[in-house]
């Protein structure tokens, strides 16, 4: 191919084609993070052990139904809950077993679980987080729980320039 690439000289004539993709319309995975503590207080702020057994069942059912529905829409990736009890672990030098400590009562942020979704855009992620937050609590009323919505880091795109 020629170094001067005359044929590659741009000419001004314009057709039309589709829009570039931007962050707003890219499919992406999001993490919906639930906290035991550390999140702002919800509207319906009654601890779960103060609910009626039926209210607990209704809550569990709501979460399960939402996960099932998201599998049906092709948006569910995973959902898991973690125990509030944990241990802090750290490397303690060559040849030594890891050192453990805690739990630390002063730790502000305590994660309860998460749901991972794969959706078409940020608006859809917000919508689903809103639904998850509407899970019923005491009195069968929505908890209005504050959830943390965070995008996953993606793979790099191939075409960047």
């Amino acid at each position: 191919m020629s170094r001067t690439s005359d044929w590659l000289r741009p000419r001004s004539e314009h057709g039309h084609n589709g829009p570039y993709r931007t962050k707003e319309n890219m499919m992406a995975k999001y993490l919906l993070l639930k906290h035991y503590r550390g999140a702002p207080a919800p509207v319906n702020n009654v601890p779960m052990d103060q609910w009626t057994p039926e209210e607990v069942s209704a809550h569990v059912q709501y979460m399960q139904d939402l996960a099932d529905r998201l599998e049906g829409t092709g948006e569910f990736v995973e959902g898991l809950a973690v125990s509030p009890e944990g241990t802090w672990v750290s490397y303690d030098g060559e040849g030594r077993p890891p050192v453990t400590d805690g739990p630390f009562a002063e730790t502000k942020d305590l994660i309860a679980g998460w749901m991972v979704i794969d959706v078409d855009n940020y608006e859809r992620a917000l919508e689903l987080a809103g639904e998850l937050s509407a899970a019923p609590g005491a009195g069968g009323k929505p908890i209005h729980e504050w959830l943390e919505l965070r995008p996953f880091l993606t793979h790099p795109q191939t075409i960047t320039e």
Partner: protein, 384 residues
């Protein structure tokens, strides 16, 4: 045991769907039946390879379709309307495969659904392979595909489509393809070649050229330890000259027809990079010209951002920063570009601060690591 020629098998998928649809199956049922037949072929062919793979696939898919139709009918207590004997094949008067591309890229589908449906119905990939590639559970991907098929159930199979919609889907497969055991970039090129062979459209050629020219750089784009290697630092001897020559040839033929579009413009930029033996030899002035075209064609902020980078190379970092200052600072990669231009402008302190900020805002891990290393490199220099 003979390994299955998966590439051949995959090319048979759209053919099989086309035959079943012309025999009276609806698209969704035909697609399911062919998918089942593909899975069976993978299982059976290693021990018992067929003499006529296409005939085998069509026969098995037709049988699967009839079984499913009968099961469905008996569930509904209705008469079986489809006869066991296949109607004679009317022949491929219309191009079934091209029609399938249009259907799978129908504008009523979301990008993710169109990608999944295209990879299964036209690409012949299994649901499991697609799920692995996009890192979602197989059940979720199966549902995404079922829903996509329901969404297009009202669309006539032979309805004329807009090739631009197909190109957007193929671009996504190439550009945002993830991992898994399927090479999605290679698959995107295979499918785009197929569309190019069946259409006479400059933008199809433009997209094919764009893919080939970027694919040519694949082994230079990451270091053996997985680091992102920026274009300027790539070992150009690793670039695949065969793919570059083909991409250039495809693009050249398209450009002579004087119907410019965004993919041809992007491919021209890639071709100019490919034309430079070293980064220093890059013809940035021409590249700026092509970005001007691209901005006029797409009015895209991403194109404007990349244009600012090119202006910085062509006319100096001050000119690049001036171009950058006209853009929304919230654009992805805006801060990274600013960091680069400030470093070129001899302001390492500002550059280091901006690189660190850009790293925090990066949307992917290799890019974040790259930007963090840039900040770290400048901070070491600043301390000494």
């Amino acid at each position: 045991m003979k390994p299955v020629d998966e590439a051949l098998l995959r090319t048979l998928a759209p053919t099989g769907i086309g035959v079943l649809v012309r025999r009276g199956a609806d698209f969704a049922a035909a697609e399911d039946a062919v998918q089942d037949a593909l899975v069976e072929a993978m299982r059976v062919w290693p021990d018992d390879p067929p003499r006529d793979p296409k005939g085998w696939l069509v026969t098995v898919a037709w049988r699967k379709f009839l079984d499913a139709a009968r099961a469905e009918t008996s569930r509904r207590h209705r008469e079986v309307r489809v006869e066991g004997e296949p109607v004679p094949d009317p022949g491929e008067a219309v191009d079934d495969t091209l029609q399938l591309y249009f259907l799978c890229a129908n504008p009523s589908l979301t990008p993710a659904s169109a990608v999944a449906l295209t990879l299964r119905a036209v690409g012949g990939l299994t649901t499991r392979q697609i799920a692995q590639a996009y890192l979602v559970p197989e059940a979720t991907m199966a549902q995404r595909i079922s829903r996509a098929k329901r969404t297009v159930s009202g669309v006539r199979f032979n309805q004329p489509g807009d090739v631009a919609t197909v190109l957007r889907v193929l671009y996504l497969v190439f550009n945002e393809g993830y991992s898994g055991d399927v090479d999605l970039a290679g698959e995107a090129i295979r499918l785009t070649r197929q569309v190019a062979a069946k259409t006479n459209n400059e933008e199809v050629a433009g997209l094919l050229a764009l893919m080939l020219l970027h694919h040519a750089r694949r082994s230079a784009r990451t270091s053996p330890d997985g680091r992102l290697v920026p274009l300027a630092e790539q070992d150009r001897s690793l670039w695949n000259t065969g793919l570059i020559a083909e991409g250039v040839d495809v693009l050249q033929k398209a450009l002579t027809r004087d119907r410019l579009g965004e993919f041809q413009a992007q491919a021209a930029i890639a071709a100019l990079h490919a034309d430079a033996r070293t980064a220093e030899e890059t013809d940035w002035v021409q590249i700026v010209g092509w970005y001007d075209e691209l901005v006029l064609l797409t009015d895209s902020p991403v194109a404007r951002l990349n244009r600012a980078v090119a202006v910085g190379e062509a006319d100096g970092p001050r000119a690049g920063l001036a171009a950058l200052s006209e853009l929304d600072p919230g654009l992805p990669r805006h801060t990274a570009v600013a960091a680069y231009l400030h470093e070129r402008d001899g302001d390492p302190a500002t550059a280091a601060r901006l690189y660190a900020e850009a790293a925090r805002a990066a949307s992917n891990l290799p890019e974040r690591d790259h930007l963090t290393r840039q900040a770290a490199r400048l901070n070491v220099e600043l301390r000494s």
